[in-house]
């Protein structure tokens, strides 16, 4: 199925490319320079920092890998990673399924005002996540929030969406609201690349709308699904803005190490433990690489 999306490169052009490799590097040099300055250098500096330990009394000392050893045994870090893992296996599938359904619906051509629907689902993506979190934080409010008030008028009691128990689903809802449209657009774009001949062939074979969706459209979405899943894995483990903003309205449900990113931020800027925060960030990076690699391997094995 991957062939539908992969650009077809004639063999002759490929040969030319390897011979003129040096020139090619010249063309990407401006990018490489900025990449090194803005990405590699800070990363290297952070790695360097993570090998030291600076203290208010006694200054900075070389600590070797001690910071990393501490991270491995840090219960707060472990809890944060596990919390994000729970988030990953619940929120991400829900969001992607929803996005696929929306994309199929719009692509089916049976919607009234499809452009309007497409835009309104996509619009939340344009809302800055800080604003989104503030807004939802207000909607969730246990005393004066509209959700509670509405439930109250209907004579039912709404759960406290800002409590310990509901916080993760509540954040999941915000993230889904923000990103479902973005994923939908990717799926929709993938659906548009399906050559019309296939639909014609399917129609000739007597396939209905559902059959076409299941046997032609869904398989065509597989590469896009893998892509969005990887984006979501990375995004999940880097979850920061939403819990950070929500912690002001629900301080007891979101502690300082609620997500690994929030923890790293607090370590660096509240505790002034920059070195430890750097080590923790690398550990987090390793977790992300690991989870993504496992996903990619599993996905490719299934395909073959």
């Amino acid at each position: 199925m991957a062939t539908t999306l992969a650009p077809t490169v004639p063999p002759r052009a490929r040969r030319h490319g390897s011979r003129r490799g040096l020139k090619g590097y010249l063309f990407v040099a401006p990018f490489l320079v900025f990449f090194a300055a803005a990405f590699i250098a800070p990363l290297g500096y952070a790695a360097y920092l993570s090998l030291f330990r600076s203290r208010l009394v006694g200054g900075t000392v070389f600590a070797g890998l001690q910071n990393y050893r501490d991270v491995v045994h840090d219960a707060a870090f472990r809890d944060g990673v596990l919390r994000m893992a729970r988030f990953l296996i619940t929120q991400v599938p829900a969001m992607l399924v929803l996005a696929v359904v929306f994309a199929l619906a719009i692509d089916s051509g049976r919607l009234w005002a499809p452009r309007f629907v497409r835009l309104s689902i996509f619009l939340p993506y344009a809302v800055p996540s800080v604003v989104a979190a503030l807004m939802w934080g207000y909607l969730y409010g246990p005393t004066f929030g509209p959700i509670t008030q509405t439930a109250h008028h209907l004579g039912v009691s709404a759960p406290n969406l800002l409590s310990d128990r509901w916080m993760l689903p509540s954040i999941g809802n915000i993230v889904t609201w923000e990103f479902v449209g973005y994923n939908m657009i990717i799926f929709y774009a993938a659906l548009r690349t399906i050559p019309p001949e296939r639909y014609e062939a399917a129609a000739v074979d007597g396939a209905g709308a559902v059959r076409t969706a299941v046997h032609i459209k869904l398989p065509a979405l597989r590469p896009a699904l893998a892509l969005t899943a990887i984006f979501s894995i990375i995004g999940t483990f880097q979850l920061f803005t939403e819990p950070s903003v929500m912690s002001t309205v629900a301080p007891s449900a979101i502690d300082r190490s609620y997500t690994p990113s929030l923890y790293a931020y607090n370590l660096a800027f509240t505790d002034q433990r920059l070195n430890y925060a750097a080590a923790l960030s690398f550990a987090m990076g390793a977790v992300i690489v690991l989870v993504t690699a496992v996903f990619v391997l599993a996905a490719s094995r299934r395909r073959s």
């Binding site: 203290r55 208010l56 009394v57 006694g58 934080g137 207000y138 409010g141 246990p142 005393t143 004066f144 929030g145 310990d164 002001t248 309205v249 629900a250 301080p251 007891s252 502690d255 300082r256 607090n266 800027f269 509240t270 505790d271 002034q272 920059l274």
Partner: protein
């Protein structure tokens, strides 16, 4: 007590004299500035409309340009400041710092000692406890700007409606909380915000808790769970478990609505609270009154402090004399201090303002014509002077939310939370290289 203070003052004076020789003392020319002195300094503050005070300063020193920058409020500003200090450049010349964060910046040796620039002569202009917070061992690290002695704002109409007398002791307060909640299950006598270590520590301060004891630069006594702190946590735990006080986080939309709608019948707040409330709960005008905090012992009225800021000069400044002159002028010039009160609603830190008849006699309609300033000025004199903060207060406050604050919002044992707070802070202090006796 007064004699002790006098002795302390004298000792500080001596220490100062001893210190000034070892300090990199600026020469007579560079320590003071004249109207013709030229310069440009940057001032980080989150107080609005500071340009007005700058204009006053520029009347006297027309050639010093002051760039006022709002780098965020409280914690947000300190994070930027700390980053700039670590980077070695980018810090402002003059910066607003709350009292509780001064040790955080002196432990890293980031604040300029203002004594050589004449700040030591300002000592008697400021309320004793506030000066105690900015000066140590003859050095002056900041100039007090405003203070926040704590009192109680209450809804006189609700008190009357439910037959509650203004509580003078904490026992009466607890009884009133019970009465009020029984008569109106939707209302609470007060809110104990679990995310507000500042006000909670103010209440501990009142009860006599002394969480930190910094004697030497590398030694810090930590007793966040001392007897007085335990007394306070047991007290509030009881009210929280009975459900007679709310535990909503403060300064959120829901909390503002709570203040405006009568969900909370009192707000235990600082002297900057009255004007703040007036701006956020306009519809309740005329219904509020002011009283001192309920007391643990009526024979010895006491109060804690919550908030209030100082103006400090960072060591990164290239123009220490101009920066110091500005910090001192801003907070001690009579016109400037008057303006800080009238235009920016700051509760004064200077004795002159606190005994100024116009200031004291000001009647606020929002409080039924009560002379609110007089009430808080009286409270101000009952704030205990010997209160110390840690050199890592950001961590201490942040950990409060996850221990004591969490216990309150979960209605679990706040005593255990207090112990967890203590353990976390001790471990952090040791990790940072401090000796913790």
């Amino acid at each position: 007590m007064k004699q002790y203070l006098l002795a302390l003052t004298a000792a500080m004076g001596l220490a100062l004299a001893a210190c000034s020789s070892s300090n990199p003392t600026p020469s007579a020319n560079s320590a003071t500035i004249s109207p013709s002195t030229k310069g440009s300094i940057t001032f980080w503050t989150w107080v609005k409309d500071m340009d007005k005070e700058v204009a006053l300063f520029n009347k006297k020193y027309p050639n010093i340009k002051v760039n006022v920058v709002n780098a965020g409020q409280g914690s947000a500003e300190y994070k930027k400041l700390q980053t700039a200090l670590k980077a070695g450049k980018g810090a402002p010349d003059v910066v607003q710092i709350e009292y509780q964060y001064i040790p955080t910046f002196t432990v890293t040796n980031s604040l300029l000692d203002l004594a050589p620039y004449g700040a030591d002569s300002l000592k008697n202009k400021f309320v004793d406890w506030s000066w105690g917070q900015v000066a140590k061992d003859g050095k002056v690290f900041a100039i007090p700007q405003d203070t926040g002695p704590m009192g109680m704002l209450y809804r006189a109409d609700l008190f009357k409606k439910y037959g509650i007398a203004v509580p003078k002791t904490w026992d009466e307060f607890a009884a009133a909380a019970k009465t009020l909640h029984a008569k109106d299950p939707k209302a609470y006598l007060t809110d104990l915000p679990p995310n507000e270590p500042g006000s909670y520590v103010g209440l501990e301060w009142q009860a006599g808790a002394r969480p930190f004891d910094v004697q030497k630069a590398d030694t810090i006594g930590v007793s966040l769970n001392d007897a007085a702190a335990k007394k306070v946590s047991t007290y509030w735990s009881g009210l929280v478990k009975d459900g007679t006080v709310a535990t909503d986080p403060d300064f959120t939309d829901a909390w503002y609505q709570g203040l405006a709608s009568g969900r909370y019948a009192t707000w235990l707040t600082a002297a900057w609270g009255p004007l703040f409330l007036q701006g956020t709960a306009k519809d309740t005008a005329g219904k509020w009154r002011v009283a001192p905090l309920p007391q643990w012992s009526t024979s010895e009225p006491a109060a804690g402090n919550w908030g209030g800021s100082t103006t400090a000069v960072t060591k990164q400044t290239k123009q220490p004399a101009a920066a110091a002159a500005f910090a001192m002028f801003l907070n001690s010039d009579p016109q400037s201090t008057a303006l800080l009160n009238t235009d920016q609603s700051l509760f004064p830190a200077t004795k002159a303002m606190l005994s100024d008849s116009t200031f004291l006699g000001q009647k606020l309609d929002f409080y039924g014509g009560q002379t609110v300033n007089q009430s808080f000025a009286d409270i101000s004199s009952t704030v205990a002077t010997s209160f110390q903060w840690s050199p890592f207060q950001d961590y201490v406050f942040s950990e409060f939310n996850d221990t004591v604050g969490k216990a309150f919002s979960k209605k679990s044992d706040a005593g255990a939370g207090l112990n967890a707070w203590q353990a976390a802070v001790v471990s952090y202090a040791k990790d940072q290289g401090f000796t913790v006796p």
